[in-house]
């Protein structure tokens, strides 16, 4: 575990080639003409906010989106250089960038890696064309294989593949194929997320209107258990509910969120956190731009966690990662039944969810903190 003060930088890039039906992130297609202004704004925001973080050691940076690889490589290099000059980012910091298969090739990936982005997180989602279509992803399974090969050829030694399970029409067999194909590529890191229906998305509206069925939670549970088995057999360590990695390749940046370490957020809608205070930028890119261009910090809101909020976060975030929570925080009557029913394990005084328990994490959190 990193030092409690070791911080992360999150940079949000809201541009995408197309908008996928399930996605509720702050991302937009068709706003490409804003990119030059957006880069300038990010640099300016970094300069404005960095004095407040003076003396804080940063151990990771994460360029997420959206699709950051839709930005020009020179701009990405420029951005990272500015982050390094604005914040105390360690030389050996983990620097991740998200990419979609169709936005990269070997040459661009080589350039990105040489610019200092040494960890690549690729949105593979599935190896079943029907599932990709249901998710409204524009790429094909073959593009994932091609992009992955390109990453290796470009020298990437730390690659994550993102997967989503439970889309309409996906069967357990199809999911097994996706996981097996993933394992065959041998990435260092795998994230597998159960498809969640967000109301304010086209998919959310389709489900609400009855046009698309809601994902079957029991099938998603089966899929989760299958992923656990296959990835374990392939030597991956299940270190967070939806994340697996070869030992030593756990995502340091994301661990920062779960360990409640500080982070600064730059870009439209980005969140920042330090010492039980969380604040976030305005979401609409235009508004973000105009505020930064006017010389204002683009803060859209904030909250100060009272002790009960902080406690709830601590419990639910720690239960997500293998570390778990100390049993001594709770009365035995609270966690005892969960151990009896095999949802929690007591590992030397730390309560850690079992795989079945991970699937019922909300119940565990509510049961423990009620």
């Amino acid at each position: 575990m990193a030092e409690p003060t070791a911080a992360g930088i999150y940079v949000h890039v809201p541009f995408c080639l197309t908008r996928c039906g399930y996605c509720d992130f702050n991302a937009y297609a068709g706003m490409d003409e804003l990119k030059p202004r957006y880069l300038s704004a990010l640099l300016r925001e970094a300069a404005m906010s960095s004095p407040g973080w003076a003396g804080t050691p940063f151990v990771s940076a994460f360029l997420g989106g959206g699709t950051p690889t839709t930005m020009r490589v020179e701009d990405l290099a420029d951005l990272l250089a500015h982050l390094r000059s604005s914040f105390d980012l360690a030389d050996d910091a983990e620097v991740s960038i998200e990419a979609n298969p169709d936005t990269v090739d070997e040459a661009s990936l080589r350039a990105i890696r040489e610019a200092g982005y040494d960890r690549l997180s690729m949105g593979a989602q599935s190896f079943d064309p029907a599932v990709l279509a249901a998710l409204e992803r524009i790429h094909q399974p073959s593009s994932v294989r091609a992009a992955f090969g390109a990453a290796r050829d470009a020298g990437y030694a730390n690659v994550n593949l993102d997967l989503i399970y439970g889309a309409e029409g996906e069967t357990l067999e199809s999911w097994e194929l996706t996981v097996r194909e993933t394992v065959a590529l041998a990435p260092e890191h795998v994230s597998a997320y159960a498809l969640t229906i967000e109301p304010a998305t086209p998919l959310g509206r389709a489900v609400a209107g009855g046009a698309t069925p809601e994902p079957d939670p029991d099938l998603q549970a089966e899929m989760f258990m299958l992923a656990c088995d296959l990835l374990r057999d392939a030597g991956y360590r299940h270190y967070e509910i939806s994340n697996w990695a070869r030992p030593g390749f756990e995502c340091r940046h994301n661990l920062g969120y779960w360990e409640r370490r500080p982070y600064v957020g730059l870009g439209a809608g980005a969140h920042a956190y330090r010492d039980d205070v969380r604040w976030w930028n305005v979401r609409p890119p235009e508004q973000y731009l105009s505020m930064v261009e006017a010389g204002d910090l683009p803060i859209g809101g904030s909250e100060s966690l009272d002790p009960s909020d902080a406690y709830l976060e601590e419990v639910f975030l720690r239960l997500r990662i293998l570390e778990g929570v100390p049993a001594s925080w709770f009365e035995e009557a609270r966690y005892g039944p969960f151990i009896e029913t095999g949802l929690l394990e007591d590992e030397l005084g730390q309560l850690v969810p079992t795989e079945r328990g991970m699937l019922l994490l909300n119940e565990l959190v509510l049961g423990l903190t009620a």
Partner: protein, 601 residues
């Protein structure tokens, strides 16, 4: 004693619902200049907002019309089966009744039921066909029908349009001519029949009375026979149509008395008022009966609602509703509430609506049930709440209330009517063809079957053409059992029901299937069972939930995830626990409500 007794006529109008009774009353007020056209508002006599909206008359009232030297007291009668007793008391105050029939619709069940009540009360019937202005009116045909029912000369049947006023004068003439004047000795001890009572926030309990004999002065010490309460009456008067004080009400007269009482239960419909002390009558008028609730339902404050507010509201409502009875009830599923007794389904709806509208309460009500009499050896137990019914085998027999139902249907739907009545455990008493196309059928039916969507079924199976009326017909033994619904082995009191043995399985299956959909999945399999005693008759399983987790927790927006969890936490806190099972109150409400919805189909 403003009017000579020979110049008094006391009459009422009886009709099937929507046959134009209230419109006719309005027109009479206008024709006699009791209310001038400017002040006229539709359905003048129906005071409560609720009545006006529903187009029905709940509270009987009397209004005095002066017409060509005669004092005509028009006594308005409630037009619904729930209020049969109140109707009978209003009829008791009259010597004649206008029997009003819609020229398009013809005879309906309530027409017949009311006609029989009026005839049995010894009233002179003045038959009239209303709505002759309607394009669909068939006055000739209706006249024939009515004449054959009454066995009278068709020429004696008046034709009116309450809407246009046509024929109303002639109808008033006929009332004066045909309805006899009341009789009564002014020198005899006072006997005044209470045919309605109401609670006024300023003046307390006001009774509407018909003086049978003696004289009822203003400012008198009066006694109520049934309750033996004595009070100082403050004012007597007549409704003309607003309250108008008089020195005294003489024999045969109809008016109101401001009793000086504060509780409507002290002056009950059907009771007799006399003077307190020596001048008082020795005997009351015959026919008094305590109001008897026929239908019971548990009322509970909905989530977060206040039990004490419900109690206060019921206490207040009771002041103006002498038929309302209630007893505290504790349900482990719904919390603290009341088991409330009603005269019938309409009364139940009205009370619920008044509680919600006038007192701003949000209520959950259990499915209505009737009163059961449970016999064991020499003891009799009265059960108002199915959950209190002893388990099967623990008693010798059970009796349930039955009604005498009058159904009028076009003959083409007769088969559908038979089928429905048979399915509802009815026994046919007799059947009469009113005309070749219209049939009058009488059944004795368990009230419990009527309470459960009978009327809606009758309407839907006869395309709305059949009409229904019924009156209480005592109790009869029946093979009834209590069906319990259990969650994970724990009975849920709110879902217990007393049903006929042959229908127990159907009820159990319906409830378990419904609850299976409504109960959220828990961390373990939940058995949803229906049982008779220890015997399980239906079972469903709510499978244990396997997945409840926020998939993605990433990008630093922890706030939203925490809020989702907090929301879930609040939801959990609001749940009721039945044994080990958490059930949201919404699920109880939905399970109880679907019943209602099914009933309305």
């Amino acid at each position: 004693m403003s009017t000579e007794i020979a110049h008094i006529r006391n009459f009422c109008i009886v009709a099937h619902i929507d046959h134009g009774k209230s419109t006719l009353a309005d027109r009479m007020l206008e024709v006699t200049h009791t209310v001038d056209a400017r002040q006229m508002r539709a359905q003048y006599l129906d005071k409560m907002d609720l009545e006006r909206e529903r187009g029905i008359t709940i509270k009987a009232q009397a209004v005095r019309l002066l017409h060509e030297g005669y004092e005509l007291n028009l006594i308005d009668t409630p037009g619904h089966v729930d209020f049969t007793y109140e109707v009978s008391r209003s009829l008791e105050a009259c010597e004649g009744a206008v029997l009003l029939v819609d020229a398009a619709q013809g005879l309906e069940a309530q027409t017949l039921a009311n006609y029989h009540l009026a005839r049995d009360a010894g009233l002179v019937i003045v038959p009239a066909i209303n709505k002759i202005d309607l394009p669909a009116a068939e006055p000739q045909r209706r006249t024939q029908e009515l004449a054959s029912l009454l066995d009278c000369d068709p020429a004696d049947i008046l034709l009116v349009s309450a809407k246009t006023g046509e024929g109303v004068d002639e109808l008033l003439e006929a009332v004066i001519e045909r309805v006899p004047a009341p009789t009564g000795d002014a020198a005899a001890p006072l006997q005044a029949l209470i045919f309605d009572s109401a609670f006024d926030a300023y003046r307390g309990v006001i009774t509407y009375v018909r003086v049978q004999q003696g004289v009822l002065p203003s400012y008198a010490k009066v006694k109520m026979f049934a309750t033996e309460v004595v009070s100082d009456a403050e004012e007597s008067g007549v409704m003309a149509p607003e309250a108008t004080p008089v020195d005294a009400l003489g024999p045969g007269e109809v008016g109101y008395l401001v009793t000086g009482l504060k509780d409507v239960h002290h002056a009950k419909v059907g009771d007799t008022i006399t003077l307190a002390g020596k001048g008082g009558a020795a005997e009351p008028l015959p026919g008094y009966r305590e109001p008897r609730p026929m239908v019971w339902s548990g009322l509970f404050p909905s989530e977060g609602g206040d039990y004490s507010e419900l109690r206060e509201a019921l206490d207040k409502l009771k002041l103006s509703d002498s038929a309302l009875v209630y007893e505290p009830e504790v349900s482990q599923a719904l919390g603290f509430g009341y088991r409330v007794g009603f005269l019938g389904l309409l009364h139940m709806d009205i009370v619920r609506e008044r509680l919600e509208r006038e007192f701003g309460l949000e209520l959950i009500s259990t499915a209505p049930n009737v009163e059961f009499h449970v016999f064991k050896a020499d003891t009799e137990m009265v059960v108002h709440n199915p959950a209190e019914m002893p388990p099967g085998g623990d008693y010798d027999r059970v009796e349930e209330p039955v009604v005498f139902a009058t159904i009028i249907s076009p003959s083409e739907y007769l088969g559908a009517v038979f089928e429905l009545c048979q399915a509802r455990r009815g026994e046919m008493v007799e059947m009469t063809y009113l005309t070749p196309e219209r049939v009058e059928v009488h059944y004795v039916l368990p009230l419990a079957e009527i309470v459960f969507d009978f009327f809606d079924q009758l309407k839907s199976r006869t395309r709305g053409y059949a009409s229904l009326d019924y009156e209480p017909w005592g109790y009869q033994e029946s093979k009834l059992v209590r069906v319990d619904v259990l969650l994970h082995g724990e009975p849920v009191d709110a879902f217990s029901s007393v049903v006929h043995r042959d229908k127990a399985f159907e009820y159990g299956k319906k409830m378990t299937e419904r609850l299976k959909e409504l109960i959220p999945r828990q961390l373990f399999d939940v058995a949803v069972q229906a049982s008779i005693g220890s015997k399980i008759i239906a079972r469903e399983t709510v499978k244990a939930k396997r997945k409840d987790v926020l998939a993605k927790c990433y990008g630093g927006d922890i706030t939203r995830k925490r809020k989702l969890l907090e929301g879930q936490k609040k939801g959990k806190e609001r749940m009721r626990r039945v044994g080990k099972v958490d059930v949201p109150q919404d699920a109880f409400i939905a399970a109880l409500r679907v019943d209602d919805k099914a009933a309305k189909k």
